[in-house]
């Protein structure tokens, strides 16, 4: 028995050592690119271009950051992203909450059909080219009714996800019908039932879904680049990509004569786009982690 127990303890210990080691290695691998990005954005030209920066900044300069902060286009891109994220999330959430509430009601006629209408878009998406043609047509319609700012096209037409509506619907279905009946007896209208009973009771799911919408808006790149023709309206992601393409162009590099490397500017841009998310991360982490657990939906 004693021998057995020792064997057990040894196997536990070995596994523990292995897991700590590998986890530490993996965690460091996750962290390193960020640390390197910060260091490279702060290092001098020589150090960056000859690959002397490994972990800590060398010949510290702040000119790369200064160049970016003095760039009006950068602030413009940032405010465009905030605009798209803010209004896009509100719009998507509004549509999703209203739709999910109606779908969660058993008495809704053609409920099966409407559910299928949603779920089918998860099975079958049209693809890039048809979507492009569709957005182009939408853009024409928007322009013809006087909405010249393509950001509204991004806000209204893009970013809706059937999965999020289904998550909300399931949460609304979980609200006990007695509570709803009680509020109807108390004279609440349909709309009051939604805003004063269902929404407060499903707060955390709504927060999770709002977070999903916000993340997809913040990260949106491809369609924003395709559809927003005015460069002043470009969101941050498009701005970063265009700068990357510009700054890694060999002709551009040849004419570079600043005291800092052109790479430093790209790294500074990357750092600036991550920092705000890191700041709000502690507040949203709870909902972020929750999101994956509701992934497997029961019917």
């Amino acid at each position: 028995m004693g021998k057995n127990k020792r064997k057990l303890e040894i196997s536990e210990l070995i596994f523990k050592i292995i897991s700590y080691t590998l986890l530490t290695v993996f965690a460091l691998c996750c962290l390193y690119p960020f640390v390197y990005a910060v260091s490279a954005s702060l290092s001098g030209r020589q150090a960056v271009e000859y690959g002397q920066v490994v972990l800590f900044p060398k010949d510290v300069q702040f000119d790369a950051f200064a160049r970016m902060f003095n760039d009006n286009m950068f602030w413009n891109a940032y405010s465009n992203t905030l605009f798209i994220t803010f209004f896009g999330t509100i719009w998507a959430l509004l549509v999703a909450i209203l739709g999910a509430y109606a779908l969660s009601k058993k008495r809704l006629l053609f409920r099966k059909f409407f559910n299928f209408f949603l779920v089918f878009t998860m099975w079958f998406s049209a693809g890039i080219v048809p979507q492009y043609l569709n957005y182009l047509a939408t853009k024409d319609v928007f322009n013809s009714i006087g909405i010249m700012d393509d950001k509204w096209l991004v806000v209204i037409a893009m970013g809706m996800a059937a999965m999020n509506i289904i998550l909300l619907r399931n949460a609304f279905e979980g609200v006990p019908s007695e509570i709803e009946e009680a509020s109807i007896v108390d004279g609440a209208s349909e709309f009051q039932v939604l805003t004063q009973v269902f929404i407060p009771m499903c707060k955390s799911t709504i927060a999770t879904v709002a977070l999903f919408f916000a993340i997809s808006r913040w990260n949106g790149y491809f369609w924003a680049r395709q559809m927003i023709s005015n460069t002043n309206e470009h969101p941050l992601q498009v701005f970063i990509r265009l700068r990357l393409e510009e700054f890694t162009d060999s002709e551009f590099m040849a004419g570079w004569n600043e005291t800092y490397a052109s790479d430093s500017v790209i790294y500074a841009l990357i750092v600036c786009s991550i920092v705000p998310i890191l700041i709000i991360y502690p507040f949203i982490q709870k909902y972020f982690a929750k999101g994956t657990n509701v992934g497997g939906v029961k019917e």
């Binding site: 057990l8 993996f26 996750c30 008495r107 998860m122 080219v129 979507q131 790149y221 990509r241 992934g295």
Partner: protein, 350 residues
């Protein structure tokens, strides 16, 4: 439901006559005026149906109308006319892509193969990583230490695709006369894993590295975050199960095999099936941001093929046909995977 005689007529004992069943009259009425009843119900609950309208319009305009555009794959492509008025061309685009025998057809088959392979490698390498991570997280008993590790591994998930690919591009970028190569290429060359010339030419310009870069950056980005769901399944295991196994003399490996694995198997199966279902729905954004003409051989997927010919080139019909095939196969995979999931575990994914 089978109709019985009593549904229609009722025998009245007192008067010894047959009466028409009043319920059947209502049923007949409902049947005769079905749409009238529908209208009345909708009118009574009009607020509910009003709430549905924005959602239906959004999905109709920007999810279903594109599907209608997709039907252009059967038509002679014509920029001026709407899809409905274009000439029907049958399966000519499909034939051209599938058995055309020219470079275009070869390119299409290459993109199909790449789509499948990128997903398949993701399944082989990307899928087990979060499970292994979750097992490791479970070994750390201190909550603070574990949260510390978890936060570090979730970190890359917070980057957008653009930022992630920009970082990858910079880390493995090519060297030139005046500048050195990216720090990761440099490290790999110093370790002797790749030759200095290859590293200096830029790993993203080398087709044989594209798949590795795609998978490794995928693991880097998502493994930590994806481990949450498996970790939640592992901590739900009752400690008594471990104790029982220990009393029976199970070592660590035996415990993992007989206690942990069976407990998280259903989660693994569900996640695996979801993954198989989306095998052909590759994130085209990441590929578009990482590939370049040098790496088309291994990087070009169906979406980027369609993007190149449909959006940037003028072969709209061909691009539509390519996407149609990809989407139909993808849909069959999703439905198949969902059916299996439902049969296997009583859990439907949708």
């Amino acid at each position: 439901m089978k109709a019985k005689a009593a549904d229609f007529l009722i025998y009245d004992e007192a008067t010894k006559t047959y009466h028409e069943n009043p319920e059947q009259a209502v049923r007949d009425d409902v049947e005769k005026h079905y749409w009238l009843h529908v209208g009345r119900t909708i009118l009574k609950d009009w607020r509910l149906y009003l709430m549905l309208i924005p959602m239906i319009l959004v999905f109709l305009f920007w999810r279903y109308f594109p599907m209608y555009e997709l039907l252009g794959c059967f038509k002679v492509s014509d920029e001026v006319l709407p899809v409905a008025d274009q000439l029907f061309s049958g399966f000519s685009y499909f034939k051209r892509l599938l058995v055309g025998g020219d470079t275009l057809s070869l390119e299409f088959w290459r993109s199909m193969r790449n789509t499948f392979l990128l997903s398949f490698y993701g399944l082989c390498f990307g899928f087990p990583m979060p499970i292994i991570l979750a097992l490791f997280f479970n070994e750390i008993k201190s909550d603070i230490a574990r949260s510390f590790y978890q936060v570090l591994t979730y970190l890359p998930k917070f980057m957008s695709t653009v930022v992630m690919t920009s970082l990858v591009t910079m880390l493995v970028k090519q060297g030139s006369l005046t500048t050195g190569m990216g720090i990761v290429s440099q490290a790999l060359a110093n370790l002797g894993l790749i030759s200095r010339e290859v590293a200096n030419a830029g790993l993203l310009n080398n087709p044989s590295f594209f798949r590795a870069i795609y998978q490794i950056s995928g693991i880097w980005e998502a493994a930590g975050y994806d481990s949450i769901v498996f970790f939640a399944a592992i901590i739900a295991i009752s400690p008594t199960s471990y104790e029982a196994a220990q009393i029976d003399g199970a070592g660590k490996m035996a415990q993992l095999k007989y206690v942990v694995l069976p407990s998280i198997l259903s989660t693994i199966v569900i996640m695996l099936i979801t993954r198989i279902g989306s095998l052909l729905n590759i994130g085209y954004e990441k590929v578009l941001l990482l590939y370049n003409p040098n790496t088309y051989v291994t990087a070009d997927v169906v979406s980027t093929f369609a993007n190149r010919y449909g959006l940037m080139g003028a072969a709209k019909g061909l691009a539509l046909a390519a996407e149609m095939m990809n989407n139909v196969v993808g849909m069959l995979l999703v439905i198949g995977a969902n059916t299996i999931a439902r049969k296997a575990s009583d859990v439907s994914l949708y």
